[in-house]
């Protein structure tokens, strides 16, 4: 039986085959467990770099201020500060990435981190190597543009060289792993790793804000729970997580909750209307019941992606280790996917 997509809140848009996420990579831990890592986006990296530049700028200004405090002679002060600024600019990234295990202040603030592309240790050579190229990536093109500017008379060669050289800076846009020139040399990549908190279980969290405590009020039949899949469960989880953070009176009277509950009620053909103010209760009960049923099905090897597809998205591509011989198939992951027969 082919279901027609209806006007639903918990639907994943028109049916189309699930897409593979583009920025996911897998490193295999020495224990043999594949660990998913998310590549940092180019914009996040630019953002981070600008923040680090600001920190460097502040550092240079501080050095200037300190030196002018101790050194009265203007020319000497200039030379002192030029020396220390040079050291700061060139050692900032190397120092922090060595001392903080692949993180600079900017990266720490943005949750980015430099790791070995092959999953091994981040060696000092790799850190130094990836930071030696900043000169040609950024400062050389800027210098060339500066020479090409009006001050030095318009110099067509400088413009050509600047354009040619600045191609480096755009490498991450074209490289599929968003690798910078320095990453190529260092054998590194930059991943994003925002810290995740363990939130309370949704099936228990609403105990206080609901009239009936943690006891369910609505019961669903097996058929009603067999419609939605994994994706809709997560969409529902997202809704409930938003509600979770709201104060109690506001949470129970949310309009969106009413809409969501009503759509689910119709979609699963739940006959009795939902009493006023009980929408959150309905959603929590439905979420708990759906999760229980889907998890049990998972135990028996049945996986349901969403209401249209049984197949999950493809697992993320494994990081290739170039030159390491013939490609091996992906190691079996924890989950076995079995297509459900439809009659």
């Amino acid at each position: 039986m082919k279901r027609k997509p209806q006007n639903l809140v918990l639907e994943a848009g028109p049916p189309r085959p699930p897409k593979q996420p583009e920025d996911l990579r897998v490193i295999i831990s020495p224990e043999g467990l594949p660990l998913a890592v998310t590549l940092a986006s180019v914009s996040a990296r630019i953002n981070t770099f600008l923040m680090d530049l600001i920190f460097i700028f502040i550092g240079v200004e501080l050095i200037d201020a300190l030196i002018s405090f101790f050194e009265q002679d203007a020319e000497d002060a200039f030379h002192w500060s030029s020396l220390f600024s040079f050291i700061l600019v060139n050692l900032y990234f190397i120092f922090f990435e060595l001392a903080w295990q692949g993180r600079t202040p900017g990266k720490t603030l943005n949750g980015l981190r430099v790791v070995n592309r092959h999953g091994g240790e981040l060696t000092p050579t790799a850190v130094v190597g990836r930071n030696l190229t900043r000169m040609v990536e950024l400062f050389l093109p800027l210098q060339m543009l500066f020479y090409a500017s009006e001050t030095f008379g318009f110099n067509i060669y400088a413009v050509i060289i600047a354009v040619w050289v600045s191609g480096f800076a755009f490498l991450p846009y074209f490289q599929k792993d968003h690798l910078r020139l320095g990453d190529l040399i260092g054998g590194t990549m930059v991943i994003t790793m925002p810290k995740k908190k363990l939130l309370p279980d949704l099936s228990q969290v609403f105990g206080d804000s609901l009239a009936s405590g943690s006891k369910p009020l609505f019961a669903f039949s097996a058929e009603q729970l067999s419609i939605y899949g994994h994706q809709e469960l997560q969409a529902l989880e997202n809704i409930l997580r938003v509600v979770e953070n709201l104060p109690t009176p506001k949470a129970t009277s949310l309009v969106g909750l009413k809409v969501a509950a009503e759509k689910i009620r119709r979609r699963v053909s739940f006959a009795p209307p939902i009493p006023e103010g009980q929408e959150l209760r309905f959603l929590v009960d439905f979420y708990t019941a759906l999760r229980a049923v889907l998890e049990k099905a998972l135990l028996f090897g049945h996986y349901k992606f969403n209401q249209y597809f049984d197949k999950p998205p493809l697992s993320p591509p494994r990081l290739k280790t170039p030159g390491s011989g013939p490609k091996r198939p992906l190691p079996p992951q924890g989950r076995m996917f079995i297509r459900v027969d439809r009659s």
Partner: protein
């Protein structure tokens, strides 16, 4: 009918646990339970994920606390017990993740476990050598071995440099007008200058420690380092700019040699140049060689891919470049201070020969030992670089 998740009475409540009653049994008598269908077939509602989480949550939070401390303060902040506990916690965390991936549909829980596993993995398999060990290894074996690994590139760059010097020397001697072609930013040192002026230029007065170190050596060091870093980094442009930079710089050198040769000041000029030139020019040649090795990894990748090649060549090139930066520091001090301090040509030659012997011996040091060991260590480094062949 969708055959998915049909309630199976025989499997209900599996695994059978007494302390987790089924959800519908939780409803107290008298509470109104609304049902949506007339034929009520209540499915098993015990949440496996909740039970799973209950038993393991404490382990996770303990691991998380350790990981946060390690991320912030490093390995030395752990007590012995904690350090011994870490691998156990890490392994049980990975086991949790493996189970969770196949059983759990609580996304927040899954994401938390994925995140914590990755963080713990990066900490547990993080760098284990201290800064001092790294530095010692770098100076003792790393730098000389990497320089030797680039020996063919160094030879090629050296030959190119020598050839450029020769060409400029011969050309300028044949036609002094060509001097201005090679040396673009002209100062007083031209064919128009008298021999006495040129000689005076070679033996300038000592202008005090502060000027020598702070003004002159500092400027020379920054300038040379920028040139060397460009020389290296532009290897990415297939090595063309690297070669151009080398040729250009050594043509200037050849032109000056010709100038002083024609004025009869060759011995003095070579002394003036070589006191720092031995160090500085070899550093420039080394940076050119590093750039060429990068270019080679792109142009002639050989058996492995370009990416992998860059990583391999990059390791040696980066090590050599750190050496280059340090050599340029030495050269800057020699040029900024000692050249003015030693205003006798014979002294300058002695220093030049001394530095030449020092660098040669240093770069050739530890060779017998490392010939076999270097292979072993580089294989080891390779292996530790990619633990997942």
């Amino acid at each position: 009918m969708n055959g998915f998740a049909s309630p199976d009475p025989s499997a209900a409540g599996w695994p059978p646990t007494a302390e987790t009653p089924r959800a519908e049994a939780d409803v107290p008598a008298g509470a109104e339970v609304q049902t949506g269908s007339s034929a009520l077939a209540p499915p098993d509602l015990s949440l496996r994920s909740a039970r799973f989480r209950k038993g393991r949550e404490e382990t996770w939070t303990r691991l998380e606390r350790l990981v946060v401390r390690l991320e912030q303060k490093g390995l030395s902040s752990l007590t012995v017990e904690e350090a011994m506990e870490l691998p156990t916690l890490y392994h049980s965390e990975l086991a949790s993740l493996a189970v969770a991936r196949s059983l759990i549909l609580d996304r927040n829980l899954l994401e938390y476990l994925e995140n914590l596993s990755l963080r713990a993995y990066l900490v547990v398999y993080g760098p284990r050598t201290s800064l001092w060990e790294c530095l010692a290894a770098f100076f003792k074996t790393g730098l000389p071995a990497s320089v030797r690994a680039l020996k063919w590139h160094i030879l090629a760059t050296g030959l190119l440099a020598a050839f450029s010097v020769l060409v400029a020397f011969v050309a300028v001697r044949a036609d002094p007008n060509l001097f201005a072609v090679f040396v673009t930013d002209l100062d007083d040192r031209t064919y128009a200058a008298s021999a006495q002026d040129l000689l005076d230029g070679l033996f300038l007065d000592w202008r005090g420690v502060k000027y020598s170190f702070l003004h002159f050596a500092n400027f020379l060091y920054r300038n040379n380092t920028m040139v060397a870093l460009n020389c290296f980094g532009l290897g990415f442009l297939l090595g063309v700019p690297t070669i151009t930079l080398i040729i250009q710089n050594f043509l200037i050198l050849g032109a000056f040699l010709a100038l002083y040769f024609d004025k009869g000041l060759f011995i003095e000029f070579v002394g003036w140049l070589s006191i720092h030139g031995v160090t500085e020019l070899s550093a420039i040649v080394l940076s050119g060689a590093a750039g060429l090795s990068i270019a080679q990894a792109i142009v002639v990748p050989g058996e492995s891919s370009r990416l992998e090649n860059l990583r391999r060549h990059g390791r040696h090139a980066a090590t050599v470049m750190v050496g280059v930066v340090l050599m340029l520091l030495a050269a800057g001090i020699l040029e900024g201070c000692f050249r003015q301090l030693f205003s006798f040509t014979i002294l300058r030659y002695l220093v030049a020969i001394g530095t030449a012997i020092f660098w040669t011996r240093y770069f050739l040091s530890g060779r017998q030992k490392t010939n076999e060991e270097a292979d072993a260590t580089s294989a080891q480094a390779d292996a530790s670089d990619r633990q997942n062949p």
